[in-house]
């Protein structure tokens, strides 16, 4: 599966059961990127994608096949690591309070290669960085 996650400077995702931040330009970019593919979300993320062609499933990380995208806001993903072949990070370039963090280690370049990085202006964020990591196990 291809994982999509939004992170702050400390790899945070949530604080007090709420997303750290949101930006309509990120949502639009996700929809553009996943057009023609299946995009899984869970019920928590549904308000961000109202009226859009997405698949809502609480067990998306088990259901998604290799080419499907999963937008994850409030789930730990490390236990599904062997099913994840691509990670798309949207970085807020901001520091928010966090108590729930991204738990997949993609820092080992022997396993995860940064394929592309793009910076763009958000609706409410000065600069958002989108990074795409491809799984490339060279061990």
């Amino acid at each position: 599966m291809k994982l999509i996650v939004c992170l702050d400077d400390k790899n945070g995702m949530l604080f007090n059961h709420r997303r750290q931040s949101r930006d309509q330009n990120v949502t639009a970019d996700i929809l553009a990127m996943t057009a023609g593919s299946r995009l899984y979300i869970n019920a928590y993320s549904a308000p961000l994608f109202e009226g859009q062609a997405v698949t809502v499933a609480e067990d998306m990380l088990s259901l998604a096949n290799e080419e499907d995208y999963c937008f994850v806001e409030n789930l730990h993903v490390a236990e599904y690591a062997d099913r994840i072949k691509e990670v798309i990070l949207y970085k807020w370039n901001r520091r928010y309070p966090g108590d729930f963090f991204f738990d997949l280690d993609i820092t080992d370049p022997r396993q995860w290669q940064l394929s592309s990085a793009v910076k763009f202006a958000g609706n409410s964020h000065e600069t958002i960085t989108k990074e795409r990591y491809i799984y490339a196990d060279k061990n």
Binding site: S21, L114, S116, V118, N123
Partner: protein
Amino acid sequence: MQTRIKKLLVLLLSLCLLFSGCAGIEATKNTAEEPAVTKSESTAPKTDPTEFANETPAESASKAPATFSPDQIPAYADDPFIALHNNEPYFDIADYAAKSFETYSELDELGRCGTVMACVGKDLMPTEKRGNISSVKPSGWHSVQYDFVDGGSLYNRCHLIGYQLSGENANERNLITGTRSMNTEGMLPFENMVADYVKETGNHVLYRVTPVFQGNDLVARGVVMEAKSMEDNGDGVCFCVFAYNNEPGVTIDYATGASTLSSASAATTTQKQTTTQKQTTTQNQTTTKKQTTTQKQTTTKKTVLTGTGSYILNTNTKKFHNPSCSSVKQMNESNKWEYSGSREEIIGMGYDPCKRCNP
């Protein structure tokens, strides 16, 4: 004689204009098209905080303790902040309308700030860069530097309601003596969260910050920060936390603001007491400049990928360019994306190469 009278009249006229101008700024901050923001001043309600210690958020939601005792706060344990009251503010948003306002307590007899409260909306947020606030000397203020503290200065003039939320500059009722750590690690992340939420949604966030003093201390032990988004009943933003006014490696005498190196730090670091404001400013400027340069270098390094190129994408025309292409200068900033990756990837995203620079 006539010249002297003339000068006196000019001075009087200037003073009249100055004070009438200031009063105008105090009362309204907005343009005529926007609804005026209510701005009032209040003294902190003298509520005994201990009466809320054992209550659940639901039971005490409508009550609003505006003073907290340090005895209520768990001891510092490395984290810059800690959740209180199950992260539920003590105030009840039902008691307020979703309309921007800001209130600041009068300074007490020791010159200390009290509770500040705001309903943060887009119309309250600043439209200009922050001004100079160095004229304010909050209670317990010392200009002191440690070489291991981020930026050098132990203390910052800490906005209770962050500048990015209310646009308040040198308001003595909104600035306390706060450590660098409390300012940037404890408070700033929450201010960022509120500011970005308001900017993104256009909603309002009820926001309150209460400095917590022990007895007659001049420096607060920390601040209680409470916030809840109004239009969605807290779905977007909801927290109640205490941010510690600590600095790792430094022992603070909260009664006066004096500080010393902690025994563990003393062996490895040096302390620089700055005696003049001028020196402090110069040093801060140098540090900031250094940090900016380092940060820029890091960012650039991060986005350059081995075996790939850097391109500028125009999200409007769906063309991509070399960074040096003359078309880039004419590009609208909001349509400009800096991209580091392969040419094939960009074409795969639906972009065509510019015919002028042929990337």
